[in-house]
Subunit: 154 residues, 2 copies
Amino acid sequence: MKVAVGSPGTWSGLLLRTGQCAFAGTSIGVMVSTLGFSNYTAFCYLIASMGLQVLWSFGLACLDAYALKIKRDLHNPVLVSLFVVGDWVTATLSLAAACSSAGVIVLFARDVHFCTTIPHFSCGRFEISIVFAFVTWLLISMSSLVTFWLLASI
Amino acid sequence: MKVAVGSPGTWSGLLLRTGQCAFAGTSIGVMVSTLGFSNYTAFCYLIASMGLQVLWSFGLACLDAYALKIKRDLHNPVLVSLFVVGDWVTATLSLAAACSSAGVIVLFARDVHFCTTIPHFSCGRFEISIVFAFVTWLLISMSSLVTFWLLASI
């Protein structure tokens, strides 16, 4: 099995996982600090999905750090299969959450013009949280592609 | 390169592509026949994305049929790379369209109760179209995984 950039147990892999945690955490932070988010199912789902992403990426970041510390190779078929399944599930859920929230915010901004007609409606903060969720998805999709590539090239 | 179920130039591949075309076409048909869909950006985006999916899957279905007829092997690295890129792009766009429309319909059904309070609002038809879009995404994601696996196992 080749060692690819971003693969488990490497510095680039650790960096990717840390980035996923940071962006998902920021997305949650911005969303929960916005008044009225809990009235919308899509925004609650975004928080749940980003929460799962933080847990998964934090766990794998710890594993990467441990593997780097004890110089252990994580490119084992069983472990890589586990990473592939987890990465694909969390990546799909993250994209679904980001897109469903984006669908709702586009409805508010363009279709019913809530963002301009209701001044206390925090469209900007919702949009920032969704952008962070999309960045998280980009990073987790990179990890997913790398782990799937690793598994396929056994 | 191994011949996997659903790979380009096989009967199972042709069946998958035909299924993608059929479900994407039905999703478009149900959506455009529903009154008021054009007032919502997410539903228009669903039609655009499913339209792209129909074009892509129809093109590949024709290629599969041609390859089966003349018994030509399509497992060529350049062709498979092209299939991988096209499949991944259309799969991501299909999931994004289905999820953004699902976000909007969940808002209408659960958060603002449009489906019960406004009798002429065709929630059911929108939901059917979205379900067909999700089925299309499932089928195109299968094709994507198979082509990516083929490319990685060169």
